[in-house]
């Protein structure tokens, strides 16, 4: 789900021109019409079939068109019933029973019931289904991720659906809340076939009207929305590929919420008293991967030394304009089960040096640090982070060579067992479940795809399995806190930071709340004052 930031405008530098000049005029030549909420986006979406596409911009829009069976409690990644009115999980953790909300309709008039819901799932999983999603074009989404553990899906009665899993999978509920599991109208999917991606029909607070590529996406309020009629009549996602033009649009009143607020323009946004900067801990982590099976990184003291050697606070301030928090745990602070009592690794070059010498590492150790060549969602500064780390490691006598390559080549290299250097590493959460960070990044079954540092700890693996099998929230919290402590001590990464989610919002906007997944959920509650 991480959006590659290669699309950052070539004109970023020009942003400084706008931010530096505080022109006072605020005549809204073409301010958005009353009752129309305008959200500024930087890139073009690629379509609106939740299970087929996989980029943030498409997700932003789909979150207003579709609902999922579960949803996130506003502002969090804790799951709660969405299109399901209630649910129950069998004691063995294998059977999930959902009762659907009555009186929910799709935008095309189709009624939501167990039959239509199951028809939507069937479209994803049954090759014989005439609307089978893999026959409509490339599928990038989360079908395997969500439904890979499914043994069966059935309509028990008119309003009850039952999922049976092959093995317990506690994050299943959270996964169902993802925007990528939005419930589509099976009638519309059958009617539009390959073109459904351009004609999305859901049950959400806004009804899709038109997509003008590289310009805008127009939506109308859904007056019959089950969770309350939206407070604005229309919603527009308007594209501003140039960040400086985006800022002007926000200042002029053409735009109300800037989905892709550019960090380079923060001084100008902060200086404008009619704009508000909303921030929230992000669902992302970023650091430097240390290949745990390769000397000298096989020695935990070396890995810890590298952690003590880097001043994360200074990096956050200088490189990230304060919009990142140092990692004190392998989990970001936005995750439930994050352990705030963990100390992380404070900057201590002396301790780093003594750990290195205890491990028998002589000054002058040469290591490569491989970097992707552009910014990413979890690391907007891209390879600059590698250069900063290089400087800090130099101070403890480690000579680092930074090599910068294209992202695809980078991914292939770090996943190859042959690669023995360090590398930039990062992750953006998919569903908001801690398993999706800790197990994905540090569970040995995920070597080398997402556990790219080849970290292998049987004790940690055992915790992950237990946590997946438990449906008791408190038990899971305790297990993940245990895992965090062990992984932090084992230091398979230089744990650098977790970027904040940042959005600039005009003062006219009321009732808008960020969600760690960055998606525009609960938009029916947003009004223009």
């Amino acid at each position: 789900m991480d959006r590659n930031l290669t699309r950052r405008s070539v004109l970023l530098g020009s942003g400084l021109a706008v931010s530096g000049i505080g022109l006072a005029g605020r005549e809204a030549k073409a301010a958005a019409p009353q009752g129309t909420l305008v959200i500024g986006i930087a890139a073009d979406p690629t379509g609106f079939d939740p299970e087929a596409v996989l980029n943030n911009t498409s997700g932003f829009i789909m979150a207003t068109i579709f609902d999922s069976l579960m949803k996130y409690k506003p502002g969090t990644t804790d799951p709660m019933p969405g299109l399901a009115q209630s649910y129950s999980v069998s004691p063995d953790g294998l059977t999930y029973t959902f009762t659907l909300r009555p009186d929910v309709g799709f935008h095309d008039g189709t009624k939501l019931n167990a039959k239509t819901y199951i028809a939507g799932i069937d479209r994803l999983l049954n090759k014989a289904n005439p609307s089978y999603i893999y026959n409509t074009g490339p599928v990038e989404g989360y079908i395997d991720f969500t439904y890979g553990s499914l043994a069966s899906y059935t309509a028990k009665d008119d309003m009850t659906v039952v999922f049976v899993l092959k093995a317990p999978n506690a994050p299943f509920l959270t996964s169902l809340a993802m925007v990528w599991n939005g419930v589509v109208s099976p009638a519309a999917a059958a009617k539009y076939g390959k073109d459904f991606r351009q004609h999305p029909v859901g049950t959400g607070p806004f009804i899709f009207r038109e997509w003008r590529p590289r310009d805008s996406i127009l939506l109308d309020a859904n007056p019959a929305y089950w969770n309350g009629k939206p407070k604005v009549e229309k919603l527009v996602f308007q594209e501003y590929p140039d960040p400086s033009a985006g800022l002007l649009a926000l200042k002029n009143g053409d735009m109300h919420i800037w989905a892709d607020t550019n960090s380079e323009l923060l001084p100008a946004i902060r200086a404008d008293h009619e704009l508000t900067l909303l921030t929230q801990p992000g669902l992302a982590v970023s650091g430097v991967g240390l290949p745990c099976d390769t000397p000298p990184f096989t020695d935990v003291r070396v890995r810890q030394a590298f952690n003590y050697a880097v001043d994360k606070v200074a990096i956050d301030r200088a490189l990230y304009q304060g919009l990142a928090a140092p990692m004190t745990s392998p989990l970001p602070a936005s995750e439930w089960s994050f352990d705030p009592t963990l100390p992380g690794y404070a900057y201590d070059p002396d301790k780093a040096k003594s750990l290195l010498s205890a491990a028998g590492v002589k000054p002058g150790l040469a290591v490569e640090l491989l970097a992707y060549d552009s910014g990413r969602g979890y690391n907007p500064v891209g390879p600059d982070l590698a250069v900063a780390v290089q400087g800090y490691l130099q101070k403890i006598g480690v000579n680092v060579t930074v090599r910068k390559i294209e992202f695809g080549a980078y991914l292939t290299t770090i996943r190859s067992a042959k690669y023995q250097g360090m590398f930039l590493v990062g992750w953006t959460g998919d569903n908001g479940d801690p398993d999706n960070f800790l197990n994905a990044l540090f569970g040995s079954p995920n070597i080398p795809i997402t556990d790219t540092v080849r970290y292998r700890n049987p004790a940690v693996d055992a915790i992950f399995i237990k946590a997946l099998q438990s449906n008791d929230h408190q038990t899971r919290v305790k297990l993940y806190q245990q895992a965090q402590r062990i992984i932090l001590d084992d230091a398979p990464w230089i744990f650098i930071n977790s970027v904040l989610q940042v959005r600039a919002v005009s003062d006219q906007v009321k009732g808008y709340q960020l969600n760690p997944t960055q998606m525009f959920f609960d938009m029916e509650k947003v009004s223009l004052g």
Binding site: A17, L23, G25, E27, P33, Y134, G137, E140, N252
Partner: protein, 334 residues
């Protein structure tokens, strides 16, 4: 004329084939593939294999090229790897935006540049000449992105006269007939929309016009001066023709051929996409489409766009040649 046209069409086919090969090879030489870019960090080996298969990327390059060629000859350029829409459709939808922007910019550049250049030539060495030629030096060397932003700051932010960007006011519904917003506004029969469409066009067009304007002014001046010292002009003056007629019939007409060449070249260049202007002013034109497609390794769109641009280039060159013939009887007779 028939032979000439046939020659031109043959030339076009060769150009198109060359472009298609170069683009195809170049896109395959670029590091990174679309599947990795689409799936990102969590791409598993299996998901990459499946997506590559769905996109047809698991075929040998030569087979992919053959498939493309076979489709292209039938008018089917495939679907975008990024958003699954017909590639040529995307190009054709984006082109009118660029066409309108380009024509407006060239109109400004020619309407102002040619008279200014003439004036400078006629006032050679005077303060008028200096007052015209000095700013044109800035004009040709002005970075468009900076100029565009300054124009936005002044006219949108400070004065509030003109909108920040886009094609029409946010959320406007207007039937898309030609894709040229001004023409569609006229055809829609809603006069207010015409004004709106123009107000969204003027800043980007003026920004895009700066370089061609400066260039056309300088070329006009230079060519006029060169022609003014030709022998036949001296003869024309010697036989007592009024100065106005000398300038119009003997100086300007001679000078126009290089000017038309420059205009044609600029037209071709601008039509292939004014990326920076389209980006600053949030215009959904061909330049942005192509840059997005290249960054996403979406080569059906890159391929369709490149071939389309090649056709446009050849077409513009052809028009310029016809222009020469109209201007110069010697070329017509050849």
């Amino acid at each position: 004329m028939g032979d000439y046209l046939a020659g031109r069409v043959g030339q076009l086919l060769i150009v198109l084939f060359g472009v298609s090969v170069v683009v195809f090879v170049a896109m395959h030489l670029l590091p990174g593939d679309v599947a990795t870019l689409l799936l990102g960090d969590r791409a598993t080996a299996a998901s990459l294999v499946r997506l590559r298969h769905q996109l047809g990327l698991d075929q040998p390059v030569i087979v992919q090229y053959w498939r493309f060629l076979r489709g292209a000859l039938a008018g089917d350029f495939g679907t975008s790897l990024r958003d699954n829409r017909p590639a040529l459709g995307e190009v054709l939808a984006a082109f009118p935006v660029t066409l309108q922007l380009t024509l407006a910019a060239l109109l400004i550049a020619v309407a102002i540049g040619v008279p200014l250049g003439m004036l400078a030539a006629l006032s050679e060495g005077t303060w008028v000449d200096t007052a015209i030629t000095t700013p044109t030096l800035f004009g040709v060397s002005m970075p468009v992105f900076w100029l565009g932003l300054m124009a936005l700051l002044l006219f949108s932010e400070k004065l509030g006269w003109l909108p920040v960007g886009g094609v029409m006011p946010i959320g406007t519904t207007m039937p898309r007939i030609t894709g040229l917003s001004v023409v569609d506004a006229v055809l829609s029969g809603r006069p207010a929309l015409v004004g709106e469409a123009l107000s969204y066009l003027v800043l980007p067009a003026a920004t895009l016009a700066t370089i061609p304007l400066a260039l056309i002014t300088r070329i006009t001046r230079g060519e006029m001066l060169a022609s003014m010292h030709l022998e036949h002009v001296r003869t024309a003056r010697a036989k007592g023709l009024p100065e106005g007629r000398v300038i119009r019939a003997h100086v300007l007409r001679n000078a126009l051929i290089p000017i038309v060449t420059v205009i044609g070249l600029q037209l071709g260049l601008l039509l292939s996409g004014a990326v920076l202007t389209e980006t600053i002013f949030s215009l959904p034109g061909l330049g942005r489409l192509m840059v997005d497609a290249i960054l996403a390794r979406d080569y059906p769109v890159v391929q369709a766009g490149a071939l389309f641009v090649a056709v446009v280039f050849v077409g513009v060159n052809f028009a310029v040649d016809l222009g020469y013939a109209a201007l110069d009887p010697r070329i017509r007779r050849r």
